[in-house]
């Protein structure tokens, strides 16, 4: 009897999980479906779910009008670049806060996080002027710098949480065996924190890929990533929903595939330390 009720619970939870999952995924699914409709079918009322004439003309038109691969490459360089630079800075920073905390470590962490509370538009003009004077406007280097800086607090916080889980005694033992600071971080701490670092890396790539304020405001033609590509298909005067959906599908496809393949690491990283 108990076994039966256990099984029923499992069924309920599975159904509920699928329902929530589908609900969350529905906007993406709808975007993908709309990308295969004509503009008239895209606004049809009642909406057409699957019974429409599937077409690839929106993809062809988007590809003809825009240089997708240039935007894609810019997104890859900017998101990977900013993540790697961010990790290079954040690993030592999180190490020092986790293993050699000072009296003000918590305050420093909170202060770092507080920078995320400032609306970005508040610092747009100063940053724009700095970029103009240093020749960084519309460059991938400029975007790597700015995205590194805006995501750094999150990287440091995540790594700090993982490092806190690692027993300090292991590092002490390494020190007693003669390991220097560099060897301790590179050869002892980093291998043990690989799952945490991997999930931080993945999450940061997603954040940088989707960032749409700085990437839109600091670029023009050369360094514009996929966010600018999508923005070029949205129009307040004209119904181009099918083309916009095709552009959106092309922009999110790479990150969706990456997320699909790395979901285990992502989930593990995000729930790490959540249950004690």
């Amino acid at each position: 009897m108990a076994r039966k009720s256990f099984n029923m619970n499992k069924v309920y939870f599975t159904v509920a999980a699928w329902a929530v999952g589908l609900l969350i995924f529905f906007p993406i699914l709808w975007t993908i479906l709309t990308s295969f409709k004509t503009e008239a079918e895209a606004i049809a009322s009642p909406p057409l779910f699957l019974g429409f004439d599937w077409t690839l003309e929106n993809y062809a038109e988007v590809q003809e009008r825009s240089d997708y691969f240039r935007h894609f490459w810019n997104s890859v360089v900017i998101s990977l670049g900013s993540t790697l630079v961010g990790l290079l800075i954040a690993i030592p920073a999180a190490w020092s806060m986790a293993f050699v905390p000072g009296r003000r470590t918590k305050d420093v962490l909170m202060w770092m996080l507080s920078t995320k509370m400032l609306p970005p538009v508040g610092v747009l003009v100063p940053i724009y002027l700095i970029f103009r004077d240093t020749g960084l406007l519309d460059t991938r280097t400029g975007l790597v710098i700015v995205l590194t800086l805006i995501n750094l607090p999150i990287i440091v916080w995540m790594l700090y949480t993982y490092f806190k889980e690692i027993p300090g005694e292991i590092l002490e033992a390494a020190r007693m065996d003669g390991a220097g600071l560099w060897s301790e971080i590179v050869h002892v701490l980093t291998p043990m924190a690989v799952p945490g670092i991997a999930s931080t890396l993945l999450l940061n790539i997603i954040l940088a890929w989707n960032e749409a304020f700085w990437t839109l405001n600091l670029t023009a033609a050369t360094a514009a990533p996929l966010t600018a590509f999508i923005a070029s298909y949205s129009s307040p005067e004209g119904l181009f929903y099918a083309k916009l959906s095709a552009a959106s599908t092309m922009a999110i496809a790479p990150i969706l595939v990456m997320g699909w393949f790395s979901q285990k690491q992502l989930v593990r990283g995000l729930t790490f330390g959540a249950v004690k």
């Binding site: 503009e39 008239a40 606004i43 049809a44 009322s45 009008r65 747009l124 003009v125 724009y128 002027l129 103009r132 406007l137 519309d138 839109l216 405001n217 023009a220 033609a221 514009a224 600018a228 923005a231 070029s232 298909y233 949205s234 129009s235 307040p236 005067e237 004209g238 119904l239 181009f240």
Partner: protein, 436 residues
Amino acid sequence: MKIFNRLLAGVAVLSLTATAALAEKLTIATVNNGDMIRMQKLSGDFTAHNPGIELEWVTLEENVLRQRVTTDIATKGGQYDIMTIGTYEVPIWGKKGWLVSLNDLPASYDADDILPAIRGGLTVDGKMYAAPFYGESSMVMYRTDLMQKAGLTMPKAPTWDFIAKAAEAMTDKKAEVFGICLRGKAGWGENMAFLTATANSFGAKWFDMKWKPQFDTAPWKKTLTFYLDMMNKSGPPGASSNGFNENLALFQSGKCGMWIDATVAASFVTDAKNSTVADKVGFALAPDTGLGKRGNWLWAWSLAVPAGSKKVDAAKKFIAWATSKEYLALVADKEGWANVPPGTRKSLYANPEYAKVPFAQMTLDSINSADPTNPTVDKVPYVGVQFVAIPEFQGIATAVGQQFSAALAGTITADQALKNAQMLTDRAMRKARYYK
């Protein structure tokens, strides 16, 4: 021979590279409306005649574009050589010296051919700071079959009372047909563009000659209550979140009896490929109340050169091409007369071929009936029909638009919305030191 061939190929590659290096690259920021996309597609004609100039396009959604070009021009960032800007920006930026004057375009450009109403909105102290790419006003688009069924005939120049009466007669809520579709979504370029133009026809105005806000006056109360009554009786549900695109979708799918909006919509609703009512659409001038002003607006997307550009001559060459009579002929030749960018040149409307386009004359009449330098019944200190050309307007009008949208949604009353609008506009104008 092989070596010679290789040498020749090498020289060819080098010379090509050198040409590319010598070519002047113009970065053009533009909105992604259909006419602009067409210009991008046809720009090969310009580069073929100007081999020393390369074009790089930055095409963006209107609001994103506005934010980006404003940041760039205000900080003299110099990222763009040509910007697509509207009639709101031109007087403000021209006055600040942020734009290059286009008075010296060649005589063959024939600037006198530009429609006076459009040219007036792009000129500051005698200097034209932007060349119009396409101009638009607003007008009534209506379903001829539903109007006939209701036993009414749309006059060429209707009054608001007729529109309200017709809207009620055309409404059949059971069949999901609504007599009138109007903008309700909050925003200075959304519901406030419509309501400001409508208010002009009711004798209302944003500011008096001392820049004091006027939402506490009778004409504004009349405007807002009329709009709310008509929309509540004959408008679609959820109208407070409808903008241009939502109303276009409703009209195209046969759910609106009348729609008052941008003249550019005429080409969409008569396009049989996307509209189910393409052959049942009629046009009329925007309504009035007999006070001498109609409820239509005036807008032009125009090309301008920011003062920070280092390629002014090449930029002017491109602008002269894109806004010329020859460009209009090129579009007509490649895409047909219905796709020619409307509302900029007198010669286009004198062309018998263009006169055959069903909405051509009504677009011209609508543009001609708007006067941006004299937009209201009473005298006002500002320029602009559906906007007030001051830098503070975007922020203020969006906040006021939220109040009016809330009134349409029924969360506050018309009186509360007007009181709040008066209060917040007064506060913003004091802060900006228009008065103490």
